[in-house]
Symmetry: C2
Subunit: 369 residues, 2 copies
Amino acid sequence: VVLIEQSLGLPSFRPTLKVPIIVPLLGTIGCFFVMFIINSTVSLIALAIVITFYAALLKKVLIKTKGDVRSGLFTAIADWATKISNDLSPSKEARAWQPELLIPVEFPKEIKGAYRLIYALTYPRGSIKVLGMLLGGEEERLRKYLPELTNSFKKAKISSSYTLVDGADFGKTVSISMQALETAFFKPNTIFLKLDEKKEGLQDKYLPIINETKKRNWGLVLLATFESVGLGIEKTINVWLDVIPEDWETKLDLGNNDLAILTSLIIRKNWNARLNIIKTVRADSSLEKEEIIKELNNMRILTRMPKDTQIHILERTPSMWSMAPSADLNILELPDKEDLDLNRLQEIPNKLRTACLFTLDSNIENALV
Amino acid sequence: VVLIEQSLGLPSFRPTLKVPIIVPLLGTIGCFFVMFIINSTVSLIALAIVITFYAALLKKVLIKTKGDVRSGLFTAIADWATKISNDLSPSKEARAWQPELLIPVEFPKEIKGAYRLIYALTYPRGSIKVLGMLLGGEEERLRKYLPELTNSFKKAKISSSYTLVDGADFGKTVSISMQALETAFFKPNTIFLKLDEKKEGLQDKYLPIINETKKRNWGLVLLATFESVGLGIEKTINVWLDVIPEDWETKLDLGNNDLAILTSLIIRKNWNARLNIIKTVRADSSLEKEEIIKELNNMRILTRMPKDTQIHILERTPSMWSMAPSADLNILELPDKEDLDLNRLQEIPNKLRTACLFTLDSNIENALV
């Protein structure tokens, strides 16, 4: 039976260039049909054997990594599937959201320091695209380091790729790259930046990117570390929520908190960590503490946060940072100001004495669905 | 049977977020197994019915174009398939080559005039990405025209997308976009440019792109039309070959002629046109005419050109253009000069009195495999 199937079925695997497609197709279908009519049990076993062999061959070929006829075929199939699905769903679905990061890097150390976090953010389903910015100075190191980095991500089963871009202006180059990537089938949806106080012209380089992400509906995460503490023992995550729209439950809209909640959930899963929700309340708020806790509990369930998540309520005062429960990572929304001062942003991790992740929603992700 | 299958099999269609994946998987496999053991013929018919229903539903949903649960699923599947295939074959295979065009456009008329040719180049398997360059002047028109264009390509079943890029420098912006798109899973592989004598700063705008494509191993096609003749009756195509490496048969390398031959084959198929091969011979060539024809015939077979392809041999003199058989489109390789004068290039279509397509290989495409 295996013999029949191979001689009849496999021709349909050839790129259908000149042979009319109906011939191998009919052959395959007819063959399967006859197989199952004659003896269904044996056919199923035969099929299983063929698939096993195929999987074994695949494993072997993977080690070689040199292309062959088969991989050309795979490329073509994936290409076709993508185009179909692209036609079916022109816009990305909120349900299928996963972090697809675009990481502009000027110095290798920026991404080295963030490696653990990027991994936690994208494993197992996200993807990483690194833009190596050739602004002079560290060109050679980038050229050497980025292929290594991409390989180590690939070994960790995270799909990643990199490119080297030369452009004189950091903000402009990233912005053009974002616009160009809009045409890609699987376009990245989130920019990842590392805040580094010592970076020259930080404000001029990052602020245009932040404004561009707002304009183009991309998400943004900004990592600011505290001295050399890194991510500590990777066991506790604080999620800070400030303003939540009053009618979030009916409109299914959490304001600018979706990305913060989603990233915290993804990182929690990878670290197997505990979550704290910290809700800050303004002095003029009319709501009772009880009500807020009830609402947050409701939200915790709808966003599918684990049961052992703790809820803390803090009053919004300059001293609130020191009242927060200690954690290995704080996730906050990026202050929504036109003239955000990035150097002042660094004060928050300094006060909290832990790394902070600032998020900015793209309006596409939704933590409630 | 359909009932069993639906109640047991369909759970595996859910995004496998919290449910252990093995449960629905085992259910599905077990169910199929039992189905075929009980009665294989009826099972096959039942399967066919389910698939038919599914296809019918799909058609209906397509008209709505609004996303639903199903399309989120499709996106996720396509995403997954792409990442797998990307891991399997890191580099694009020459066998699976198809024209994936990147088209920088400054004025809508540039792409309007080339619509028929772009269609012939990409139907049915290629893809089109349009970069609308916001250099001022025609911004509003581009904003209105590009969505229309993308839609009409999509209706013609060609996958296409567009983006609007603002950057002050044409060449630089295209070059950054190319570099950024290197990170995409299905990156475009060929730049499409329209030569327009009246365009301001043509040389400054296009020459950096041409040099960049050479440096980055992309292909390039450059369309130059003759007055308002367009593509005539779309029935005859001339392919001009100049230098072919002597050992092309053993090295499977046709020099810079691969893209010219491949594009001519694709366009011929879409137009159902006749091909002419025109080989130009230099005066100092030692080969006999007979030998050249024999070799070209050999090449014709290996590149799978149709049997009615005619072979012409012309001596390379300034008057050779007038000796060429008349055609609706001439495909030539782009002269390989560092300081190519794009305005002088326009002289060739003027002499031939038909549209010309100049090609530049990326070294990835191969007409012989």
